[in-house]
Every structure is written in structure tokens, then in C-alpha cells.
């Protein structure tokens, strides 16, 4: 009788759809292997790992936090970028603030929800607003006025989605990949022009404190394989083979 080997994967909240499917595929391809997934905001996962949680694989939504773990000596090897993502604005289908174009987001009274500065989507979002402010047709105070509209700084990207889906917020900033079919029933997407968009890089690494380094390595290989990349693309992430937007 074959023994069950369990690997624990800590992954950014924005990967929940893709990694759930990849985990199932991996289990099918490796009989006897079980993948336990833990999704949360990237900084929360890092805090868990630093406070002694054991995991085999870490998939981060930005390089900042992977670098942080690397400096703490918690990785077996540097993180490898396995996917990219881009930001979008979302508004509720009902569009209570009647937002027709991106410039409307800086109009006084619009309720904007973004990620907290510590969360990758919040960090990228602020960067993107600054880039928009330097884009033609936005005005240099666009970022300042948009940030003044922020009514909540959520602790992970899925919480941003929640506030917009319910229709409580007028707009939010999330990843393109977050707008899955169930979410799209409640929100409309406003695309951000390529020059101003910030491309999120997702690195993955095997953790030094893990108990199944071999299987963990195979999981990372699977994520980087054509099959893993296909699933990531299916969930709205940008595979590393293709060019960034």
C-alpha cells in the first residue's frame, strides 16, 4: 500500500482559483500525494510562516515578500516567477457612482476600496494610480484625489472584491484574474491602459522548513510546466511564456 505524502502550499489569495485546480491536477498526476492549500493575503501568509507555521511551498503575489523570506533564510532557492497579473478597476454592475471612464474615479464622493499598503494589490494599486496621474488626460493630482476617495484599505484582494460585489463600494482595484465568472455577474471591469498598468509578478519557492522537499520541488515544476501554465492562463493570469501586456 502506498503511503500518502502531504505537501502544504501557502499561496496568495489571488491564486485561489488557479491553485485549487493545479492542486487537483497535481494529485491526479502523483498518486498518493495530497496537496493542502492555504490562501490568504501574501503578508498574512508571511506572518504565519515567520510565526512558525510549516509549509512546503510559498507562492507570493509580489517579489517584495518573497525577497523578505529569502533574506530571512527561509527559502531553499530564490523564488522563480511563474505568472504575471495585471490590475483592473471594477465597479458594481449597478454602477451607483456612474463611473464611465477612469477619470471619474477621482471625482469627490466616489467610494474607492483598495488593498492595504502591505498587501501586494494595494502596493501595485498605488503605483498604478501614480502612473495614471502622469498619463495624458488625467491631471497630475489624479492619484491624490483618487486616494482621498479611499474608504477602506482591505487586508486581501478578495475582500476588495467583496465590497464591490455587494455594491457597497463604488469602485475597487483588483487583478484581472480575480474577475472570475461568479464575480463577473456582479461587477463590470474598467481596463487600465498598458503604459500605466502595473504588472504583478508571482514568484514561487520551496521553503526550507518544509517536510517534503522532493514533492514540493515537483509541485513547483508542475506549476511551471505547460500544463500548469495552461491552468493559470485559464484563470486569467498571464503565463510566463507570453509577453507582458
Amino acid at each position: 500500500m502506498s503511503q500518502t505524502l502531504l505537501i502544504s502550499v501557502f499561496a496568495a489569495a489571488s491564486l485561489s482559483g488557479a491553485f485549487t485546480e493545479i492542486g487537483r491536477d497535481f494529485e491526479r498526476a502523483h498518486p498518493g500525494a495530497r496537496v493542502r492549500l492555504n490562501f490568504a493575503g501574501t503578508p498574512q501568509l508571511v506572518a504565519q510562516l515567520e510565526q512558525g507555521a510549516t509549509a512546503d511551498v510559498f507562492a507570493s503575489a509580489d517579489e517584495r515578500w518573497m525577497q523578505h523570506l529569502s533574506e530571512g533564510g527561509r527559502l531553499t532557492a530564490p523564488g522563480e516567477t511563474f505568472a504575471r497579473n495585471r490590475l483592473v478597476f471594477i465597479v458594481p454592475r449597478t454602477n451607483p457612482a456612474r463611473i464611465g471612464r477612469l477619470q471619474d474615479l477621482a471625482r469627490p464622493g466616489v467610494k474607492l476600496v483598495i488593498g492595504a499598503e502591505t498587501v501586494p494589490v494595494g502596493h501595485y494599486g498605488r503605483e498604478m494610480l501614480a502612473k495614471l496621474a502622469n498619463s495624458p488626460g488625467f491631471g497630475s493630482d489624479f492619484a491624490r484625489r483618487a486616494l482621498a476617495n479611499v474608504v477602506s484599505q482591505e487586508e486581501n484582494v478578495k475582500a476588495v472584491l467583496g465590497k464591490v460585489q455587494i455594491g457597497e463600494a463604488d469602485a475597487g482595484i483588483c487583478y484581472r484574474s480575480d474577475v472570475t465568472a461568479p464575480v463577473a455577474r456582479y461587477v463590470r471591469v474598467l481596463e487600465i491602459p498598458d503604459p500605466a498598468n502595473v504588472v504583478a509578478s508571482y514568484p514561487i519557492a520551496v521553503l526550507a522548513a518544509g517536510t517534503q522537499p522532493d514533492l514540493a520541488r515537483q509541485f513547483v515544476t508542475h506549476v511551471l510546466s505547460a500544463e500548469g501554465q495552461r491552468v493559470l492562463a485559464k484563470h486569467g493570469l498571464i503565463p510566463i511564456g507570453s509577453r507582458a501586456p
Binding site: 493575503g41 503578508p43 498574512q44 508571511v46 506572518a47 449597478t94 451607483p96 467610494k111 476600496v113 492595504a116 499598503e117 502591505t118 498587501v119 479611499v150 474608504v151 477602506s152 484599505q153 482591505e154 487586508e155 475582500a159 467583496g162 465590497k163 455587494i166 455594491g167 457597497e168 463600494a169
Partner: protein, 285 residues
Amino acid sequence: MSPGAAGLSRPASAVSESAFRWLAVAASAALLAFLALPFLGLLARVSPREFVARLADPAVLEALRLSLVTSGAAAVVILMLGTPLAWLLATREFRGKRLIEVLVDLPMVLPPTVAGFALLMAFGRLGIAGRSLDAFGIQLPFTTLGVVVAQVFMAAPFFVAPARAGFMGVDRRLLDAAATLRASEPFTFFRVVLPLARPALVAGVAMSGARALGEFGATITFAGNMPGSTQTMPLAVYVALQSDLDTAVVLSVLLLAMSFGLLLGLRAAPAGFLWNRPSAGSRGF
């Protein structure tokens, strides 16, 4: 001879009395150590000097101010609205009383995130009651008022239960005496019942205030997380844990000290003020 008496006269079982006592003490000690260790761990992380220095951090002060204001306001609302409810539950029998009791207890067992979501469905701007509020220009999500609403929802049961028990403990004979003297019900309530039930009401306010102070899940789900307007101390701890561990520790210790003080003050207060329990054997009314 009744069957019960026969049971009582049976000789001591295999476990001797001293072993029984030791087991009880050992089990209690294990649980107490388990409860105390996390707090000790927290306290061990911070030196008193650093703690005081960091208290002056504007971010800490802002969260502290917001927490005190909101949980204080929540305690007042709960006292004003919860006292009549506790009084009615203690003194009246009516159809559907069981249902109301369950409704009042529900927030104690509900996951706070579910409570926050339910609050959005009720008082969000698209919620069943929120639409009317919105028409009057009242918005709760993303506002300090929304924080108070979430706290009241989660903390009210912690007041109603002890307050009700307090009212039930008031000696019925005193009320009969008041009635004999032709005191009206309002007069009796304010001059006889409230003073007698005061210890229970104070205990209930402290418990619910402490619960409101520690509220996290319903607040972040319903009111969001914004420094200065909705980021209370528990939310600030959560965010600081991801970025600034030292601030997280200071905020945690501060919360711990406040909750500890509130609950201890409740027990250490002058006996006459808090614990003048009605005479034993009195029936509820």
C-alpha cells in the same frame, strides 16, 4: 427510601477523594496555564520603556481613541436599549419568547464575518433597511457609526443575559410591598428595581463593553478598515502584524491591559456597589 438516597450511600468508588481532588486541581492548572501562556508570551515581547515610547505613536493613539469612542458609544446604546429588553424578558411571559431569546443569543455564536455580511445585507446601502437610511443620507458602511453598529450587534447579548438575570433576582416581596404602597410600575422600576439590579447591569455593561472593544470580524466586514475612521485597535493589530510587529505587540498589550482592567475592575469594585445580591431563596417574578 428513594433511589437517589441509595445512590448517595454507596461507598466511594475506585477513585479516592484525594485523587479526585488532585485530578481536579491538575486539570484546572493545565487549563489556566494554557489560558495564561499566550498573554505571558505577549508581555515577554515588550519592555516597559519601549511600550511607553510607542504609546505616543500617532497611529497607536488614533486607533486607541477610535476604539474608546466606538466601544463607549456601543456600551451606552446597549445599556439604553438592552435594559428594557432584559426587563421584559425577566418579567413577562409571551408567545414567541423562546424565539426572541435565541435571537438575542445568536450573535454570541455567529462567526463575526457572517454577522458583518448579514449587517451589510440589512444596513448596507443596498440592504433591506439601508436603502431607507440612504434616502435620509445616513450611511453606515465605511463610517465610524458603522463600527458602533457592528459592535452593538456583537456585544448586546453580553449585556442582556446578565441584566436579565439581575432583574430576575430582585426579591418579589419588595415589589409587592411597593405595590401595596400604591407605587406605580415606572416608579417601582426606577426607585426599587434598578438600584437592586444595578450590580448586574454594571457587570453587563462591562462585559459588553469589553466585547465591543475586542470586536474585529464584523467591523472589518461591515465598516471596512480605514485609519482614523474605522480602524479600531483590533484591526490595527491585524494590519500591523503584517508590517510592523513592534506596533502590533504594543497595541495587543494595550488591548489586553484594557480588557483585563475592565473585567478585573468589575470584580474588585466595592462589594456594596457590585455584589449586593438579593437574598438567597428569593423567587424571580
